[in-house]
């Protein structure tokens, strides 16, 4: 925390031929006593308690059946796409005089009122897909350690054989979450914290309240 300002676990996946890795990277892997990995990704963790020891293996059974996970992966690339596919524009009618503009975007904005320009970020044709997509709150149905399978309910971004980051869902309770503390306990703890900052005298005042 002092060094980088946050806690994270760097997880490696896959295997890489040593001849394809630079010497500094090889040295780093060897110093950590870890085999060279193809994919490396940091997983943010709340605090020191969430850290794992270096070299620890994370198997499929890390995730419990019935817990919720977030999945992050690069979605399929669609190439250069027009405005109708990329942004869902309606296009123009096929007949009634419309010439050569059935799938075009039509107007690009106001005239002089918009500043005699096209606003930055105007939805236009361009490269679609291939970016990171997060699908949240997917339920884990089944895990198999031997086969290395995590079965998840719903769709995950990306093609078959794509690399996916799976993490405990942010918007759901932690799988082994302890029960929330009672209101009286919270108030007591808050009082203690305030007392530590201000000094001993104010603490007495709070008690009488």
């Amino acid at each position: 925390m002092k060094e980088h300002g946050y806690w994270a676990v760097c997880v490696g996946m896959g295997r890489k031929d040593p001849k394809n890795i630079t010497k500094p990277e090889l040295g780093h892997f060897s110093a950590q006593e870890v085999p060279p990995k193809r994919y490396l990704q940091e997983f943010r963790v709340r605090d020191e308690m969430g850290m794992l020891s270096v070299g620890e293996q994370i198997k499929a059974s890390w995730f419990l059946d019935g817990q919720f996970v977030d999945t992050r992966a690069d979605c399929k690339g669609k190439g250069f796409q027009g405005v109708m596919k990329r942004w869902g524009f309606g296009g123009q009618p096929r007949s009634h005089g419309h010439s050569l503009s059935h799938r075009s975007l039509g107007s690009t904005g106001n005239g002089q009122g918009g500043g005699s320009r096209v606003y930055p970020g105007k939805k236009m044709p361009g490269r679609m897909g291939g970016q990171r997509v997060t699908v949240q709150n997917l339920k884990v149905l089944q895990t198999d350690d031997e086969k290395g399978v995590v079965l998840v309910n719903g769709a995950v971004a990306g093609p078959k054989g794509g690399v996916v980051m799976i993490q405990d869902a942010l918007k759901k309770a932690w799988p082994d979450a302890p029960p929330p503390p009672k209101p009286a306990k919270i108030a007591e703890e808050a009082r203690k914290a305030v007392g530590a900052k201000l000094g001993s005298a104010p603490q007495e005042k709070l008690k009488t309240e």
Binding site: R15, P18, K23, L26, G27, F29, S30, E33, V34, P35, P36, Q57, A60, Q142, D144, D145, E146, K147, G148, V149, L151, K160
Partner: protein
């Protein structure tokens, strides 16, 4: 410039000074003097006292041991044990959803007696509710195989897409096979009034009557079946 300038106003008159410099004969230098050759590498003096070590680069210090880069072995890969996890999960699910394999055989595209587009199928759900109709399309997707049934309930066209291996589906039977094999796999033209089959209820009722005769509701029905039916449609039991 080493030589003194002969002019009186030397400081302000640069142009004249430059002109003067160029007028001097060029000093001849030999080409060999420009390239001194590679620098001769000298070894450190042997047994250099320790107080001088801090002056050396870290990598050249005598106490520095060359770091050995050891490449660790990868643990056994799970991917190698299971290269097609989706197929594996599908097989597991089929074992749960259809343990006998009867439903799968009924909806096997290679089975000549199986359900095909154009057949009239009767599906009964776990709640006991039946739904029957013409199979307009059968999508073969492993455990997600589905059949689209069309019927007319009180003159209202109704379609239902039933997942064949769903646990909610208690039974599926073919009430009537299509007389002639349709010329396409998706019979969406049946939605048009010209080709609409109308209500399928009569055909299904006829099939249920036949089935009742063959299997029988009473315990005596089994005996009847053994003796009575000749050249029989024993397929009545098979269809179940």
């Amino acid at each position: 410039m080493a030589q003194a300038l002969p002019f009186r106003s030397a400081t302000c008159c640069c142009r004249r000074a430059v002109k003067f410099a160029w007028s001097l004969p060029a000093q001849k230098r030999s080409m060999l003097s420009l390239h001194a050759g590679p620098v001769e590498r000298l070894d450190f003096p042997p047994q250099l006292p320790e107080q001088y070590w801090s002056q050396l680069p870290k990598r050249m210090r005598p106490d520095q041991v060359k770091r050995e880069i050891k490449i660790h072995e990868n643990p056994p890969s799970e991917w190698k044990t299971c290269k097609e996890p989706v197929k594996l999960i599908d097989q597991q699910q089929m074992a749960i959803l259809d343990p006998t394999g009867a439903r799968a055989r009924l909806f096997d595209p290679k089975n000549p007696d199986g359900a095909k587009a154009g057949d009239i199928i009767l599906a009964t759900f776990k709640t006991g509710e039946p739904f029957s109709g013409v199979a307009m399309s059968i999508k073969w997707r492993g455990p997600h195989t589905s059949v689209l049934l069309r019927n007319q309930l009180t003159r209202v066209g109704t379609e239902m897409d039933i997942k064949v291996f769903s646990p909610l589906v208690q039974s599926m039977e073919v009430a009537q096979k299509a007389a002639k094999r349709p010329r396409r796999a998706r019979l969406y033209f049946l939605r048009k009034p010209k080709h609409d089959m109308g209500s399928v209820q009569k055909i299904v009722d006829g099939y249920l009557r036949q089935r009742a005769i063959l299997t029988g509701g009473s315990p005596g029905g089994a005996k009847r079946q053994q003796g009575g039916v000749r050249g029989g449609v024993r397929g009545g039991t098979r269809r179940r």
